[in-house]
Point group: C2
Chain length 101, copies 2
Amino acid sequence: MRHARLPASEEIALEDVFHALSDPFRLEIVRRLATEGEQSCQALEGDRPKSSVSHHFRVLREAGLIRTRNEGATRMNALRRDDIEQRFPGLLACVAPKPDD
Amino acid sequence: MRHARLPASEEIALEDVFHALSDPFRLEIVRRLATEGEQSCQALEGDRPKSSVSHHFRVLREAGLIRTRNEGATRMNALRRDDIEQRFPGLLACVAPKPDD
DNA sequence: TCGATAGTTCGATATTTTTCGAACTTTGGC
DNA sequence: GCCAAAGTTCGAAAAATATCGAACTATCGA
């Protein structure tokens, strides 16, 4: 499996972040990762086909919002909270509550 | 997105704001309104035709980011700083410095 | 090794946005 | 009243995104 492209923290572009978050499904994914922590793609797919879900996770990944790691046959997605906070302080707070809020 | 209406502060939708800000030209408009205050459309058009500029101002207006008032034959656009801050505290700080920063 | 599970990639189509010119509206000045 | 300036609206064409099925890859367990 090829390595998904992951921008470094300082490469994260605000336009890309905004575009990624302008879709309701993607915004919801980010919120759930924020409140519930790491999740598989499957755990967050609604009734969409896998290819659509995969597409949206890719947009989030390439925008720099999430990181994906393999865990056996499944891929776990996590919000890049610290990287985003460092690059755009306060942005995540507008979008997603912290788990302990 | 419909006709040139101005959403009330509490009607501003995060998705719409993100979409509006995901375009580089619109992001630049918002930044300039933030730093330089109220501006006419003309003052911020690059070398684009008027209809394109008008379109982008409309997207910003309908998303709730700017307010437009007539001043003679020209229309002055202002960032709805307080409304946005009230609805999504901290968001504008990620995007646009305050004039006195 | 076979089958099932979890995702990715590809290709085609559908939908949404963007772009631009032309016609139109409104306002101010002469 | 007429003209120019500043925007808006409309319509069509171009570009970007989203959607979905099908084929593919990788991992785990029996």
